[in-house]
């Protein structure tokens, strides 16, 4: 049975539907990300789980119990806010201890648990610091310790890393994943950063305009995007207009001067999408011209103008010589690397 279950959850503000028909089953210990652009309803969904907003329709259940009937203060969920929302007039230790105080944990045990929680997030020795005297990363850790010390049934993270600089964000991602693995708390992360979602989660819920576009593992959502939105949002992708010609035998899929045996099913105009790193330069294939060539250390990034419109190609820097700007090339890829869907 699912640990946390959302069934047909919807939220309306007046006439505006912010979240619609959101259904998801989260297993115990799972790390789930809600991924989508701002305004897609991911934070609203999180706030409904937390209890700061009531769903207009639908049910939220935790271990089979109706969560919406429980007051937010009694839900026992740990939440890390985007702004951290630390209590500035309390020290780090007092911040972390607050939730335990509210639960009437005896003083001795409280001190011990606060110390352990701060040590877990790597802040041993910072007990007496006030939040405003700490760096963004340290504040983030205090917020995490404060949410985890109450042993929450579910940990909710609302864009917790978006205020950190790139390098620190990467460090915190790794650390967050390690902590979550160690203590095994069921976690839901809200983010608009696809890299963050992919590197942290067991499963990703891709959302757009209040609806779920796809639920799947990071690999699934990246390799087999269910919709044009998902393939565009998760990493870079090339969309080419193509046709499937079933008049000849065997049937062929044709995009410019590239062609391959047609997949079963569709016919007529289709759109094919290929990730930039799956395209190779070959002797035959889609003819194109290199417009710009950018060196990025471990890989080369090419912007090409092809028969089927602009194309992006990424090649590993494997020491081989690469085509130069202005050079005419042929783009080729394996048919199994492309996705085929109906023409837009």
């Amino acid at each position: 049975m699912a640990y946390l279950e959302l069934e047909g959850v919807a939220k309306q503000f007046g006439a505006q539907t912010v979240v619609d028909d959101f259904s998801l089953a989260v297993g115990k210990g799972e790390f789930i990300s809600f991924l989508g652009p701002s305004g897609c309803g991911k934070t609203t969904t999180l706030q409904m789980i937390a209890g700061f907003l009531d769903p207009t329709r639908g049910a939220i259940r935790l271990e089979g119990k109706d969560l919406t009937a429980i007051h937010p203060a009694k839900r026992g969920l740990g939440i890390v806010f985007q702004s951290y929302a630390l209590f500035p007039h309390m020290t780090a230790a007092e911040n972390v201890a607050f939730g335990l105080e509210m639960r009437n944990v005896p003083r001795g045990e409280r001190t011990e648990r606060v110390r352990a929680a701060l040590a877990m997030v790597g802040l041993a020795g910072y007990e007496e610091r006030h939040p405003r005297r700490m760096s963004g990363g340290q504040q983030q850790r205090v917020a995490l310790a404060r949410a985890l010390v109450i042993k929450p049934s579910v940990l909710l993270l609302d864009e917790p890393l978006s205020n950190l600089d790139a390098k620190l964000r990467e460090e915190m991602q790794i650390e967050l994943r390690q902590i979550q693995r160690t203590i095994g708390t069921t976690t839901i992360l809200v983010t608009h950063d696809q890299n963050e979602a992919m590197s942290l989660s067991d499963r990703i819920v891709v959302m757009s305009q209040g609806r779920i576009e796809q639920i799947g593992t990071p690999q699934e959502t990246y390799e087999k995007p269910a919709s044009a939105f998902v393939s565009q949002f998760l990493g870079k992708t090339n969309d080419f207009a193509a046709t499937i010609d079933r008049t000849s035998a065997p049937a062929r899929l044709i995009a410019g001067s590239w062609s391959a045996p047609a997949p079963a099913g569709r016919s007529g105009a289709v759109t094919i999408s290929i990730r930039p790193e799956r395209i190779d330069f070959g002797d035959a294939g889609l003819s194109a011209k290199i417009v710009t060539r950018i060196f990025q250390g471990n890989h080369w990034l090419f912007q090409c103008e092809s028969e089927c419109g602009p194309a992006t190609v990424i090649r590993q820097n494997d020491g081989q010589s690469q085509p130069v700007e202005g050079e005419a090339v042929h783009l080729t890829w394996r048919p199994e690397d492309m996705g085929v869907r109906g023409a837009a």
């Binding site: 203060a73 839900r75 939440i79």
Partner: protein, 291 residues
Amino acid sequence: MSASAEERNARTPWVLTAPALMLFVGVLLIPLAMTVMLSFHDWGQYKGIEPVFILKNWHEIVTDPYYAEMFGRTFRIAILTTLLTAVLGAPEAYILNRMSGCWKSVFLLVILGPLLISVVARTLGWALLFGGNNGLVNKLLMSAGVIRAPIPFMFTETGMVVALAHVMMPFMVLSVWAALQRLDPQIENAALSLGAGPVTIIRRIIMPQIMPGVLSGAIIVFSLSASAFATPAIIGGRRLKVAATLAYDEFLNTLNWPLGAAVATLLLAALVLIVVGSNALIERRYAEVFR
């Protein structure tokens, strides 16, 4: 850079601030210094002001219990007014802050609106409502048989405190409002998710964070109330004098300018000491919240 250019750069700030500086010196520092000097001059019914240096006025103020009573009343009224505005104004600002957009601007206008009306008009309003047998409220309550005699309001310290609190309320609300603006909008949700009830959230999370706002509002209200003139003059009249009305009377009725100057100087000195002292205390106590 050449020496002359360096010199010019060093002079620039002085040149640029000179007009404001001259205004400050001319209309504030010089009259203030003259008032302080005036308080050491002698005065007699027939000889007028004599520009000598004596401590007669200061001796009179320190030894005559009449002046102790005046200053005692002044600060008692100021403290009570400050307490009243804090007790009413802080919740008022909190409620205002929680209102939704449209209502918020309407009620902010309601709170700030009185600032556009003269203090005299606002205080006379109280006099019209509670002034003796003819006051509107008194008349109504008496004809309804609720009270027999008019509610004592005019010429009472209570009346002065109530009227002053009404005049000063916008300053307290604005000050607390400013502190509330600095609050993290998610902070109440954070406390809620950790299991805190509404009372605990206000007492443990909101109150400590808006305390600096309440205290700086209190400093403004206290100093304005202690030096207020119009409200005490209308409600208290000649019967209940405070330091400001006392100085006024010495200057314009008795024509004893030196004594009036001594009263004014003492009031100023006391206020500066109290305000600077409490400000330093607050800044030390709430260093973490202020940063």
